[in-house]
């Protein structure tokens, strides 16, 4: 169902999917640890680990998307032609941009754990 990378919409949205999973994990973890504990240190540690894992995943996805975009090959960023190459590079470009936004999203969502030291 996923299909080959260069022609798959599912691969294009894998970075934001990692963002969504990270968000669910962080939200669920904090809710359980703070409600059942409350143990802010464990909450913050878990968030830190989840954030690191998610960023790593997004980095891998982003790197592959960058390769698929292949910008440095011809400095093309428009991709409006009717060819397989245009479509492949378009999906790579969109995937790469989504990886950037997702990474920012993950960092933003993880950041409160740096500053907030309480479950209250």
């Amino acid at each position: 169902m996923l299909g080959p990378r260069e022609s798959s919409l599912w691969h294009m949205i894998s970075a934001p999917t990692i963002w969504a999973l990270h968000f669910c994990v962080v939200y669920g973890w904090t809710a359980s640890v703070c409600a059942r504990g409350p143990d802010p240190a464990a909450a913050r540690l878990g968030i830190g680990i989840a954030t690191a894992v998610a960023l790593l995943g997004i980095a891998v996805v982003g790197w592959r998307a960058w390769r698929q975009w292949d910008y440095l090959d011809d400095y093309d960023y428009e991709h409006d032609g009717p060819s397989v190459e245009d479509r492949r590079e378009f999906l790579g470009h969109a995937g790469w941009l989504l990886a950037i936004v997702s990474a920012i999203g993950v960092i933003f969502v993880g950041m409160p754990a740096l500053f907030i030291e309480t479950c209250l």
Partner: protein
Amino acid sequence: MTDITQSMSRRVLENADDARPEGIYPPTEEMLDEPVDPELRKAQEERLRAVWAEPPGWRYWSAVNNSEVGAWYSLTAFAFMLAAGLLALLMRVQLAVPENDFLSADTFNQFFTMHGSAMMFLFAVPMFEAISILLLPAFLGARDMPFPRLSAYGYWSFLIGGIFVLSSVLFGIAPDSGWFMYPPLATESEGPGSDIWLLGLSFIEVASIAAAVELIVGVIKCRPPGMRINLMPLYAWYVLVVGGMILFAFPPLIAGDFLFEMQRSFDWPFFDPERGGDPLLWQHLFWIFGHPEVYIIFLPSIAIAAMVIPTAARRPIMGYNWIVLSAVGTGFLSFGLWVHHMFTTGLPSLSLGFFSAASEAVVIPTGVQIFAFVATLMVGRVRMIQPMLWIAGAVAIFTAGGLTGIMIALAPFDWQVHDTYFIVAHLHYTLFGGMIFPIIGGVYYFYPFFAKKKMSDRLGRWSFWLTFTGFNLCFLPMHLTGLKGMPRRVFTYPGDIGWDWLNMVSTIGAFVVASGILVFAYDLLRPKSRQPLTERNPWGGGTLEWAHDIPDPGWGSRSVPYITSRYPLWDQPKLLERMDAGRFYIPDAPEGLRETIVTSAVDAVPQHVARITGPAWCTIWAAVFTGGAFIFPTFHMYPPAIVCGILAIACVIYWLWTSTALVPEKPMKDAGLGLRLPTYVSGPRAPGWWGVFITMLGDATAFASLIFGVFFYWTARPDFPPENAVHADPAFAGLAAAAFAASWAATRIARGVNRSGNVLTARLLLGAAPLLGIAGATALVLAVWWPGLEPATHVYPAMMWALVVWTCAHVGAGVIMQGYCLAGSIFGKLTPRYDADLWNTTLFWHFLVVTCLITAAMIGILPRML
């Protein structure tokens, strides 16, 4: 030029004996240059015209074509908007002066509840669906949407539900607990108001999901040959994203409605803290829907801007890829914001931090598209066409609303202004800027396409300036009113505390907005029979909708073109001439059937000529009875509701049996330009399979929301499950799981053996499968009934029962589908070669078996581990 059979890999082995596309694709320039015989062209046009003609006389209302349904849909949504706007005006009259007694407190409560609910559920979301149904096939050069009868069913459901909900105001029994219906206020509210809201709007939510399914399948499978994913009009991208968002946003609300109505009708205490419930669960489920909803409204409207701006700037959009990023990114991030509506509910500050941060992060993708629009205008040669005025106003107002959004995304600021008029100002800035202005601009822009006439430029400018000034006059002061402490939803206020003149100004502004909207309404609806027809491409646009025919022959696209550009009318010089001549695909209707071309999801390689459904009454009956099934329970009239439910199912079965997945007269047909395409496909190449897949994604989300509920109670409540609670019987739960798994396996195996020609075994399996399903459902009910779980005593047994009820209802649907396939096999509708129904049923059961197994584990195993 290549032979298409070689260029397509055989990914699904079981489909190997299916008919495959044969012949030449893509077409060569020589083939496209070949002239069409004028006699033939005329004969083709006559046949097409006859097939696509709208039904005459009173039968007009049985039409299902996207141009009719889309027009009814948008006019109905507009009428509901005017009604909801009238409520707002009456509220503004009440608030104009302090201590006013124009409206009673109770009436005021009903009015603001209905104003919000109607604007959101009866106008904003349906308007997106309506406009997309009208426009999408034209953007894609398609003849129609993939499931026209589903659009019609959605429309009639919307009309019935909308009239039901809105008319409750006239009888003074409207919901009065605010558009988000917070318990305990809403659960304890007297009279049928809350039930009207819950059941009436659930009914409309179902229609919304139906439209979303149709639109997603339309974008993925009904693009013209050659329109690869990187060439798709931006509107289609937005529709795809918004359709996906609807699938993940509406189901949590439907799950919430289900729990809520169980509490209202049967006193199952989901939101009652005295019996272990928690009112906050409703807030979570509501806002998991409610915040993405804002973007569901905003994105398709801004998509209109993405279509108008290149035309006004007379150049392709700048940063197409960036706008795709923006749409997809916003679609995702908007699901991480819901708690910013709940900053004051006392959640851990760490949690508030995530949601605050995510709310700030969503600004990035939202802003990117605005910058792309501005960049396009800067590098283009802009003509200030009248629709562009509305788009410019939209961008200005939306940006202002976005800036206050950044402020209230910060929890400490939100604590200060929560539930004040500052929020009212913010949300109206985002919704007017993000929805009303672009939509009206879009109506002016696309009107020549809808109606083949033009609206008045002069009235349009009047309307714009009245609406724009009035809007700012009405809502800009509200920021200050809010900062000065005036709370929302109060029916009156004391004088001399600094709110008087601000409210008076807002009221005057509201009437100026109303006059602007009325000028627009007049311009839209005034008779134009003496006005000349418009020219074909009045604004000089580059996308396919301007290849429309004038006057409208009903066929959508004379022939389905081969596309090689994002702006085919600008870049493919002979395109129009060839489309008109019938040089492209399916230029004829020799079988007298409505058809459109189905292409592959990413590269738009032709796969299939889909036969689509024509005018029908059964869709209206199905909607009427579905309406009955939802409306009767509002007044606690259950027997007629059950009868209506059964009749609705009967109508749907009749509709499917008589018009979908029919065995074609021949397996392949000539699609034109040397290409032969199958007339029947099953599995992932068929639009119907995608329809089931997408519906089930939404359904899985609703189920996941119920599971979220279980874990929510577990984290939020110390007494879930209560000590010494009666648990469900694990043996019965295990038995149910085994029976469901066997039913699923029988269905899946039946598909394989049927395909290999062993019809008798397939029939035996399909006969056994429903029995196993019913046995499983019985065992599941026994698992909670036998040990004596009393749902009204505590939220824990109630939640276990809710899971069982949900699962059994789905098993009911699954059993009907298995029976349908068995009947199909017996009556020759389903054969080894033509087995789409069985593929779709199997797909449904893949999802269903997961639901069943999780339910069995949730009731049988998990509570003992918590």
